[in-house]
């Protein structure tokens, strides 16, 4: 073994107690491919959408008896470095630096009262709790129309377009990040 290798090994062992790095990756659920989504044009039935995409991760009601279904997935990579230095017998100081990328992306399909697809959105995820998704209102009478003011219907980046932000960090809206 060369002296250089021995030096590197010794340095690694010396630093092991106070410096460490990590590389992590988190994957969850299956990605919806754009080509698959292209099969679902507005006007498609709920049955057709379920057949193509499977069971959604999340379902919620939208105004006027509409329904929104969300499929989301995560493939996030991150790495970080932590340095720790003992200060005295009772404490130490440490600092961590991390770089994590996008939390994930999702697809939301919006259906009208007849369960016909009216709109689809693809974008970055946001946590449902960040935007205060409301519980459904109580129904006042059978057959009564839903209150158009209840609930929200945006779930990705709220832009009304089919594409989310290029960096995958979704903005406003609700629901796409609803977890299970």
């Amino acid at each position: 073994m060369s002296p250089r290798c021995l030096a590197i090994g010794a340095l690694a062992l010396l630093l092991a107690g106070c410096v460490s790095g990590d590389w992590s990756r988190t994957r969850a659920h299956a990605r919806v491919r754009p080509a698959t989504l292209e099969e679902l044009e507005p006007g498609a039935s709920l049955e057709r959408c379920l057949a193509v995409l499977g069971a959604p991760n999340d379902v919620w009601e939208t105004p006027a008896d509409g329904v929104a279904l969300a499929w989301w997935w995560v493939d996030a990579r991150g790495w970080g470095v932590t340095a720790s230095v003992p200060l005295n017998d009772y404490g130490s100081a440490s600092a961590t630096w991390r770089d994590d990328d996008s939390p994930g992306r999702g697809v939301v399909l919006f259906f009208d009262a007849g369960l016909v697809l009216t709109r689809r959105e693809l974008g970055g995820l946001v946590r449902a709790g960040d935007h205060g998704r409301r519980r459904p209102d109580a129904l006042e009478e059978a057959g009564g129309a839903a209150d158009p003011g209840r609930g929200g219907d945006d779930a990705t980046d709220g832009s009304g377009t089919n594409e989310g932000r290029p960096d995958g960090r979704g903005g406003g809206g609700e629901g796409g990040g609803g977890g299970s």
């Binding site: 790095g21 992590s24 994957r27 379920l50 008896d65």
Partner: protein, 127 residues
């Protein structure tokens, strides 16, 4: 050549304490055959009879939907003196049963991927 085995053994023993394999499960795997018995028009009672209590019930105006899910996560870790590698892979079985205003099954959506998470490293390709 005669040193290969001891060196390999020493390497394995040196690295093994830094390895992590973990599996987390939530709920029971969904019985695909039972889901297959559901048909449009079945009552909510029939749904519960076949699949048990749902994990969630969502009100959709005058309709509703029952959610059933099973989640499995596999976590793999490796720590090598100065650097650590950690990978999480999570997959689900999910079934949504949509009920109409008369509480009859109108649609069923299924995804069965709960047995697909893999023990992998961050650089691995996992579909």
């Amino acid at each position: 050549m005669k040193h290969v085995l001891p060196v390999a053994l020493a390497l394995v023993l040196a690295v093994a304490p830094g390895c992590l394999f973990a599996r987390e499960r939530a709920n029971r795997p969904i019985d695909e055959a039972a889901v297959g018995k559901l048909a449009a028009g079945d009552s909510a009672a029939r749904v519960v009879e076949l699949l048990g209590a749902p994990t969630d019930v969502v009100q959709l105006g005058r309709r509703s939907a029952y959610r059933y899910d099973f989640t499995q996560k596999k976590r793999t870790g490796l720590w090598l003196i100065l650097v650590g590698f950690l990978n999480d892979d999570t997959r689900q079985d999910r079934v949504w049963v949509f009920l109409d205003v008369d509480e009859r099954v109108s649609h069923v959506g299924t995804t069965f991927q709960g047995d697909e998470p893999e023990f992998a490293m961050p650089w691995s390709d996992v579909e």
